[in-house]
Structure formats: structure tokens, C-alpha cells
């Protein structure tokens, strides 16, 4: 395997609505910053890969227009996934492994504000049995949360503590949309508006994006004094048949973690893509993280959740803490689909 590292990370200041910006205007400064941080001109990038969703943009092949943010002329080698940018990074990593590229630019972005996101997300589901019911993403998450609560796998107290810890951690994250939290006691006194979920259990709706540069071997060492080496990366999927799955578990995370080598060494930090409080518990359990691991020091998706970017941001947040020397070995998790259906796990290391 070729040694490949994340060498640069940039993200937008996430907010509820970037109404005055189109997708190109929103992501272009982020891409520019990611390239500038390593002093790279666009001609030095071998491969460009993005993650975004036409269902959010309201337009077929919407990513083609966003390529204006990269500058695709003269022609560049480029690809796109209709998924979170974490899977775009996976594609770029494979491209580098095959020897067809040494460097790659990856970005993921989403403007959720133009539509009704919980309704839009129902379009990911089975078209015969689920889609005609228009089940919204919050109620679907509630099905999972109630199973966990009633089976004693989590408590409302734990869920409120996850919400509190995440949004308090986000106070030091200049990109976060929600910073700071009411106390756990105050959260527990809030109505369960989406019974069994309360508002604080849900990620915010966010407009924003992220860009990352990865490079192989010597190039990585040249562009970054302490690259975040991708030691393992794998993604797996569970059934889309919600009624046939045990929703309190996500076996695909455990498989991806084993393939990525999560337990081949100690983990300092973990950034987990859990858009709902109870899902953090599922991911932690499947990853087998000890209580000492610092989880979501950035605040995680509960503090900012740009669709198609929030998973790639998890890789970026771990990488930046390795760049700075704050961490040496971290795990990043990204999810796609509803109720933790598909999952990617990556292990990043400084030394």
C-alpha cells in the first residue's frame, strides 16, 4: 500500500442559511483556502473528487456547476459521488493507491436551507414501501432512539449529556453553528417535541462545506510538516430494510473498524458522525472505544451538520489535531443514509 496523508483541511463557517450564496460561492473560498495552506496551484493536483447531492441542490448534475469553484479548464481529472465527501476521499485514496494520482483535492458541501431537509431525506428510502409514506428523518431517528431507551441501552440523561458535551466543546470551534449549551438539567426539562427525541437530540440544519488535500509519500511530507497518514480506511453497509435490522446496532461500523485497524494501536481522539445524540452511543459501542477516548472535540454534527460534508469534516478534524501535535492516532467515522445505514471508518496517525 502507498502511504497517503491528509495534508490540508479547510471548512466554511457553518450556519443555518447561506441564502445570499450559491453553491459555487459557498465552496470556492474553502477550496482556495485548502490549496493555499499548502501553497499548491491547481495544476499540481492530479485528481479532484467531490461529494454533494442533487436532491439538496434541486438540480440534476448540480456538481458540474460547482466545478467552477475548482477551475476545470484546461481539463482536469475529476469525479463525484452522490454521497458525503468522506466517500469522495475514499475514491481519491483508491485512485492514489492504483498509481493513477499522487495528489487529490476532495470537497463536500450542502445547502440544506432551500428545502425542508427532514422531508428531502426521506427520498433516500426504498421507493415502494417507505418513500410513499414520506417518513421524516427525525421521526425515523426516534424509532431507533425509543428502542434504545426501552431496552436500557441509553438513558435520556446520557443523551442530554452528549448534547451538552458536544455544544460546549464547539465553543472552541470557530466553524461551529451551535456553540454552548444549556445545562443537562435544563435540557432534561425541555419538552420531547419529537417524542422520544427533544430538540437538543437533533443536529442543526446547516449550510456549509469542507475541502481537504491528500497526497502520497514524499509529496505529503513536502506539503505538511506533520501529515496525518491514513493508516486504514474502509466502508460497509447494513440493510436498507429498516424492519429487518436491529436498529440498536450498526454491524457495518464494527466491520469497517476491524478492516481499518482501529484496535491496532491506542486511540487519542475520535470524531463521530452522529446526527442524533443516541447514535453517538451506537457508534462508540460498535467502534469499541474506551472511556478515555476524547469524542468529538470539535462539537461534532450536533454543533454543525452540513449535509454531504459532515462526514468528511470528521476526517478533517482528526487530521488537524494530528497536524498540530495535539493527537497522534485518531479515528474518524462518517455515515451515509438514514439510521447509520452505511458507514466509513478511517484511522489517521501522525508518526
Amino acid at each position: 500500500m502507498r502511504d497517503v496523508a491528509i495534508v490540508s483541511v479547510a471548512q466554511s463557517v457553518h450556519r443555518r442559511s447561506a441564502r445570499e450564496l450559491n453553491e459555487v460561492e459557498m465552496i470556492q473560498p474553502v477550496i482556495r483556502q485548502a490549496l493555499d495552506q499548502v501553497g499548491v496551484q491547481k495544476g499540481e493536483i492530479d485528481f479532484t473528487c467531490s461529494g454533494s447531492s442533487d436532491y439538496l441542490a434541486g438540480q440534476a448534475f448540480s456538481f458540474v456547476m460547482t466545478l467552477d469553484a475548482v477551475g476545470p479548464t484546461p481539463p482536469i481529472s475529476e469525479s463525484h459521488v452522490e454521497m458525503d465527501g468522506a466517500w469522495a476521499l475514499y475514491e481519491a485514496w483508491v485512485k492514489i493507491q492504483t498509481g493513477h494520482a499522487d495528489t487529490a483535492l476532495i470537497y463536500g458541501y450542502g445547502k440544506s436551507s432551500p428545502g425542508d431537509l427532514p422531508r428531502v431525506l426521506s427520498r433516500q428510502l426504498d421507493p415502494y414501501y417507505y418513500q410513499p409514506l414520506w417518513p421524516d428523518s427525525i421521526a425515523l431517528a426516534g424509532l431507533q432512539a425509543r428502542l434504545m431507551l426501552e431496552q436500557g441501552l441509553i438513558t435520556e440523561q446520557e443523551m442530554a449529556e452528549i448534547a451538552y458535551r458536544s455544544r460546549e466543546a464547539a465553543k472552541t470551534n470557530p466553524h461551529a453553528q451551535l456553540q454552548g449549551s444549556q445545562s443537562v438539567e435544563e435540557l432534561l426539562a425541555q419538552p420531547r417535541s419529537y417524542d422520544p427525541l427533544a430538540r437538543h437530540d437533533c443536529a442543526p440544519i446547516t449550510d456549509g462545506g469542507v475541502a481537504i488535500v491528500i497526497a502520497a509519500g514524499e509529496k505529503a511530507a513536502k506539503w505538511c510538516s506533520r501529515p496525518a497518514w491514513i493508516r486504514g480506511i474502509d466502508h460497509r453497509i447494513d440493510s436498507h430494510n429498516l424492519g429487518a435490522r436491529d436498529l440498536t446496532k450498526a454491524p457495518s461500523i464494527g466491520i469497517a473498524a476491524a478492516k481499518a485497524g482501529v484496535h491496532d494501536g491506542p486511540i487519542d481522539i475520535a470524531e463521530l458522525h452522529a446526527p442524533f445524540t443516541h447514535q453517538e452511543k451506537i457508534i462508540r459501542t460498535e467502534l469499541g472505544l474506551s472511556d478515555e477516548v476524547v469524542v468529538n472535540p470539535s462539537g461534532g454534527p450536533l454543533a454543525a451538520n452540513p449535509m454531504m460534508g459532515a462526514g468528511l469534516i470528521r476526517l478533517g478534524e482528526v487530521a488537524q489535531r494530528i497536524h498540530s501535535g495535539e493527537a497522534n492516532r485518531g479515528v474518524a467515522h462518517a455515515t451515509s443514509g438514514l439510521l447509520l445505514q452505511q458507514n466509513l471508518v478511517a484511522v489517521l496517525e501522525g508518526e
Binding site: 441564502r19 445570499e20 434541486g58 425542508d116 427532514p118 422531508r119 421507493p127 415502494y128 414501501y129 417507505y130 410513499p132 409514506l133 414520506w134 417518513p135 421524516d136 427525525i138 421521526a139 425515523l140 431517528a141 426516534g142 424509532l143 431507533q144 432512539a145 425509543r146 428502542l147 426501552e150 417535541s193 419529537y194 417524542d195 422520544p196 427525541l197 440493510s239 430494510n241 429498516l242 424492519g243 429487518a244 436498529l247
Partner: protein
């Protein structure tokens, strides 16, 4: 310059007017609903998957053995939908639920008309309320309602 720009926006409604061919398994289920019958399918392990799937969830082999299941079942889990969205089966607040029909081993996603979240508990028995006009769609089930429950 200096004046804040007025932000212009225009509505855009996307529709995907597909007609899909549902095939012998999904088609049998949807046709059954039109006739007020519910069918599942036997997996390789003899467990009954309902709604039926074309391929075994574990082995991936094609499945063909359709079996009748009940029109009543048990609520496995549920969530309250206070803000009803366009297109949802009920236009008043209701529960989204996973329901294990009698004779089935996997749960069906649908909605329960029960008035308030205080009126529903996991484990409650519910039965199908059929739509008056049925066309071979999951929406031929208008909703579920509690067995013996007050509306």
C-alpha cells in the same frame, strides 16, 4: 453599493413522474393490499419477511415463497410526528411506527392514528385501517389503529 442587496428567490418544485414495474414479489404484495390482503415471503431460514423482498436478506438468494400474514400486529417502536408534512398518510399528528404483523418476522413501517403520544405504547396491538380507494400501493393501508383503543 452600500445598500443591502435584495435577495431574490423563486420556487422550484422537482417531480420524478416514474412508473415502475414492481415485479413478482413487490407486485404481489402491492396487489394484495388492493384486495385487503397482506403477504410476506419466506427467507432461506424460514423466517417471514414482510413486506416481502426479492432476495434473502442474509444469503442473497432469490425468494419465491409468498405466504399470507395477518392484518393485525404489534408496535415494536414508534415516534411521534407532531408536525405533519405534505404527502404523509395522515394529516393530523400521528405516530410513525415499526409494526410486526402476526405471522411475520420482520417489521413494517407505517403510521398509527392514536390521537396523542400518551395513547400509544410499544407492544400495543394495532390493526390495518384500509383506504377506501385502493390502487396497489403501500398507501392502500391508510394507517394502523389500536385494537380496542379509543380514537
Amino acid at each position: 453599493m452600500g445598500e443591502p442587496l435584495e435577495l431574490l428567490s423563486a420556487p422550484l418544485v422537482i417531480e420524478y413522474p416514474f412508473n415502475r414495474t414492481t415485479g413478482p414479489v413487490i407486485g404481489a404484495f402491492l396487489t394484495g393490499l388492493r384486495d385487503q390482503r397482506v403477504v410476506g415471503i419466506e427467507g432461506d431460514d424460514r423466517r417471514v419477511v414482510c413486506p416481502p423482498v426479492e432476495y434473502d436478506p442474509h444469503t442473497g438468494s432469490p425468494l419465491t415463497d409468498l405466504v399470507a400474514v395477518g392484518t393485525e400486529g404489534v408496535v415494536q417502536t414508534w415516534a411521534w410526528v407532531e408536525t405533519v408534512r405534505e404527502g404523509q398518510p395522515l394529516q393530523q399528528p400521528h405516530a410513525l411506527a415499526l409494526i410486526l404483523l402476526d405471522g411475520a418476522d420482520t417489521a413494517m413501517l407505517h403510521v398509527v392514528d392514536c390521537g396523542s403520544p400518551d395513547a400509544l405504547s410499544t407492544g400495543d396491538r394495532v390493526r390495518i385501517r384500509w383506504a377506501e380507494e385502493r390502487s396497489g400501493s403501500i398507501c392502500d393501508i391508510e394507517c394502523f389503529e389500536r385494537v380496542g383503543g379509543e380514537q
